[in-house]
Symmetry: C2
Subunit: 316 residues, 2 copies
């Protein structure tokens, strides 16, 4: 279990550790999108990852590192989203119980997914304090270990393995664009870009309605989102304490995008690439649509973070 | 140019001919869907094919076989859908003009796609007679050769190459499920299954609102759809004269499905497999949802025919 910022060796070790339990996700390209943005776009498809998002990487890594005596009591978290599924799946692989606190308004499809992976769900009111209190009670009762979805170095090292794969397969990437929520993905991405790439610029992309990372980077301190509103339900969380310093050191910039651009980007990916992504994954392409980042003549990795979307809530 | 039912050798030749110009499409699987239907489902992803559907296979094959003197005057067809794009693309590859008659109510996204491939579009009223008359005039003026989208042996041989790939990569398939429109895909599929498989049963799947193949197979003669209504816009056409006898000889059965089941099947594929398919592609899985076909403990190829969908028209 890591107690400081993951090194190159830590991310390499994480990769070897989780490799048997995750997909090496494909990289897709689109001539049409390359022409439109006058660059070479490399879409890293974590939407095809196990449990439907990059979260499986960190979850498997973090759980695998728990001492056996602790692990057997299980793991716990509160999540309405992708981390719930990823943790439940990771626990089921290692044959230990998982305890997931979910808000009672969590989407049915996500509740079902957690159940498929044999997660023990406790429902609570949909507030952060109710979630935290309920989780505390669950942990008291079960003795399970809490795994934080992003403010955790083992999680960060695991999320970095996606960009490890990307840099290994495409050694000359100039820029990587990555969505920003709590900062687990982008901090791992930025570390891997620094360790495994050659002078890669990493840019975070955030919905304007949940722009805490944008503000925090400019203020030099964490400024949490108070009432974040965006269809990108994976990006509502605010930056974690372990994530922010990594972002300060390794991320070149954070840009923000509108909801309309996100929808346009989603539609482009669905219609042109024929793949399903969740709104959070559309944020980097939305930044290109808004001309927020100059990628002309550059080789650009774009992390498609996940594909767990409630289709009924999306109208194109 | 073939003048009779394609032989095994004809389909092999078609494959060698078109291989440089098409994708060898991937086969995807889903544990969840395998468990649900208690079978091994192999999804042949023609939604990832060039120009977004299997139609590229037949179009490239048919055009490549035209004598050069004829070819240079170009090719023509009337189509509101996937064949328009596929033919325009195939013509652009061979550097010859394409003339596409499209109904004035054709979806904007499909019009744009044809334009991207440099197709010359002539719009007409959205009736079959207007389409045929306009096409006749275009051909008179340009000297272009009409390529029928399905009632053409070279097209049939080309469409069969998808199942050639499938049988080569999965030699022990028991059953292949395939959507039925004009019959180009299923006649090619059934021939390839007979030539390259081992006792494969081929079953056609049709929307109940466009069930001409279902009725025709039972009546022993072609019974065209009069007012077909279905969201599966690729399946509105009625069987072609060259297609029907092949279906009679090589297809075991045709089953029909409801619109609701198609939508449910589409949603399953989007949410679970994270890929975008058009409604026509959802018909075989809809047949499994309706328990129309017993696939228990069988290895089942499912042809996902295309991915060109107007997302605005789909509401899950």
């Amino acid at each position: 279990m890591l107690v400081s910022v993951p090194t190159k060796n830590d991310i390499n070790s994480a990769y070897e550790r989780i490799k048997p339990f995750i997909h090496q996700t494909p990289v897709l390209t689109s001539k049409l999108l390359n022409n439109r943005f006058n660059s070479e776009l490399l879409f890293k498809c974590e939407n095809f990852q196990k449990a439907g998002s990059f979260k499986s990487r960190g979850a498997v890594n973090a759980i695998s590192l728990l001492p056996k005596a602790i692990l057997k009591k299980g793991v716990a978290t509160h999540s309405s989203g992708n981390f719930a599924q990823a943790l439940a799946r990771a626990a089921s692989i290692l044959n230990v119980p998982s305890f997931i606190v979910m808000p009672e308004n969590a989407p049915q499809v996500k509740v079902e997914a957690v159940r498929e992976y044999c997660g023990n769900i406790t429902f609570c009111k949909p507030t952060l304090s109710a979630r935290e209190e309920t989780l505390e009670k669950v942990i008291e009762k079960t003795g399970a270990s809490e795994i934080h979805p992003y403010d955790n170095y083992d999680i960060i090292a695991g999320q970095g393995t996606s960009t490890l794969e990307l840099c290994r397969d495409y050694p000359n990437i100039d820029t990587i664009l990555c969505p920003v929520g709590g900062g687990g993905l982008i901090s791992g991405t930025a570390l891997s870009a620094a360790y495994f790439g050659k002078g890669i610029e990493v840019i975070g992309c955030e919905p304007i309605g949940a722009d805490d990372a944008f503000k925090s980077l400019r203020a030099g301190k964490i400024i949490p989102s108070i009432f974040p509103i965006t269809i990108a339900d994976g990006l509502l969380t605010s930056l974690g304490e372990r994530n922010f310093p990594i972002i300060q050191k390794y991320v070149s910039d954070i840009v923000t995008v509108s909801e309309d651009s996100m929808l346009e980007a989603m539609q482009l990916v669905y219609e042109r690439m024929k793949i399903v992504i969740e709104p959070s994954s559309a944020v980097p392409l939305a930044a290109l649509i808004e001309n927020k980042i100059d990628v002309r003549n550059r080789k650009v990795g774009i992390i498609l973070s996940g594909g767990n979307v409630e289709l009924a809530k999306i109208s194109f």
